[in-house]
């Protein structure tokens, strides 16, 4: 079972409140964006415009593994939590694992009911954009 499958299996066994608590834990453990990206972030580079929250994402491929570097403001803990979950699933993993991620991941995690429809669009876009960025990084590599 890969890391994403493990996360999905765990989420499927959680109650609504446990899911929110887990997202909160993820949110608190999102690694800080390395300093070398701060200038680019402050200039607005690599911002994912589909998401209301200012999310900046860099994907690199090192030794055929994904390296994810992300910045999400602390005022958006739900987005931070979801991004940290994606990091746990895909950071330092084979690019194919990210490319295989279902676009309907939020449904698989059972987060649709927990977060409500109007909050989901931005998060759904994150999955799609992550896959696009991984593809781009693989091509450039």
């Amino acid at each position: 079972m890969n890391a994403l499958q493990e996360i999905i299996t765990d989420f499927q066994q959680m109650s609504r409140d446990e899911k929110l608590d887990t997202l909160m834990d993820y949110s608190e453990n999102l690694p800080d964006l390395p300093e070398r990206y701060h200038e680019a972030r402050d200039k607005g580079q690599n911002r994912l415009h589909e998401c209301q929250t200012p999310v900046h994402l860099w994907i690199e491929i090192h030794n055929e593994k994904i390296q994810m570097f992300v910045d999400v403001p602390r005022e958006s803990p739900t987005v931070r939590g979801f991004v940290a979950l994606l990091m746990e699933a895909f950071h330092d993993k084979d690019p194919q694992e990210a490319l295989n991620c279902p676009n309907t991941l939020l449904n698989s995690l059972g987060l649709v009911q927990v977060l409500g429809m109007t909050r989901l669009n931005g998060l759904s876009w994150l999955v799609k954009r992550l896959k696009q960025e991984v593809t781009k990084a693989c091509v450039e590599n």
Binding site: L20, L23, M24, S27, H49, E50, C51, Q52, R74, E75, S76, P77, T78, V79, G81, Q113, V114, L115, G116, T118, R119, N121, G122, W125
Partner: protein, 282 residues
């Protein structure tokens, strides 16, 4: 704040800090982000989520009277409790919750001027401690829907009678160039534009940078002199799902004393998808 028509509904951070332990007061935080409260909140505040707590998950509507009573019991709010709302995004969701509570007939509602943003930037105390309050036995005595909520048929009548409508969305959404807020995801409206005859007064024009409301004179210039809307007019306000227009509803009703203001919570996510309703583009 005394310059407003109903200054008693707007409280300052100093006032709240003095009343933070008052058992007759319950502080309610409502945010766009469902987890923001959990990252830290005003001491003794409880969380009410606009979507999970106040909206029915089956039908597009608010929860039933009975479910609202249960929610109040759970949050330790009695029928006579004074509820002080605050939240993120210049109090959009706090105004939305204030509006919903008013719809369920809750009498004593107040709003923290400047909301979460100002409380934090003033360096005031925040905590992660979640407090449980003794359960209450809440009774909704009258639902106030007719007075403050508009449905699409009301809006259609409103257009026919050429009564004033205020579109509080961003200019790009009003002209139809954008189907959603700048930087926000598209939420599935099939047409862009605005309700015929609506005046564009973006909600943000009523707020200062720090999230507090503008002074009375600036608000009069905005709505009366700018948009030509009189204090006795029958006014309908709308946005995308009714949250930003709750902010304008609050300004008109409480700060300026407009007598008859209703929020069309169906807003553009309903109107922009309805078959054969008229839409205007400049």
């Amino acid at each position: 704040m005394s310059e407003y028509t109903h200054p008693e509904v707007l409280v300052s951070a100093d006032w709240l800090a003095e009343h933070i332990d008052d058992p007759n007061i319950r502080i309610v935080e409502s945010n766009e982000d469902i987890l923001l409260y959990n990252t830290g909140h005003i001491r003794n505040a409880v969380k009410i989520d606009w979507q999970n707590d106040l909206q029915d998950d089956l039908m597009r509507d608010y929860i039933s009277k009975e479910k609202f009573e249960n929610l109040m019991d759970k949050k330790g709010i009695g029928s006579d409790t004074t509820v002080v709302f605050y939240g993120d995004k210049s109090n959009w969701w706090a105004c939305y919750a204030f509006w919903a509570f008013t719809m369920y007939g809750h009498k004593n509602c107040k709003l923290l001027n400047g909301g979460r943003q100002k409380w934090i930037s003033d360096g005031r105390e925040m905590t992660k401690d979640i407090v449980e309050f003794p359960a209450q036995s809440y009774t909704v005595s009258e639902v106030n829907e007719e007075e403050i909520r508009a449905f699409r048929d009301h809006v259609l009548n409103h257009i026919e009678q050429k009564k004033p409508l205020i579109d509080v969305r961003s200019p790009g959404e009003f002209t139809g160039e954008l189907l959603h807020m700048p930087d926000y995801p598209q939420e599935g409206s099939l047409r862009g534009g605005h309700i015929p005859g609506a005046k564009s007064v973006p909600w943000s024009q009523a707020a200062n940078e720090d999230g507090t409301f503008k002074g009375r004179q600036a608000l009069v210039e905005l709505y009366k002199e700018g948009a030509g809307i009189d204090i006795n007019d029958d006014v309908v306000v709308y946005c995308r799902i009714g949250e930003r227009s709750s902010h304008t509803w609050f300004v008109l009703r409480y700060l300026l004393g407009y007598k008859n203001v209703r929020n069309y919570d169906g807003s553009w996510t309903e109107w922009g998808n309805l078959v054969r309703v008229p839409i205007e583009r400049p």
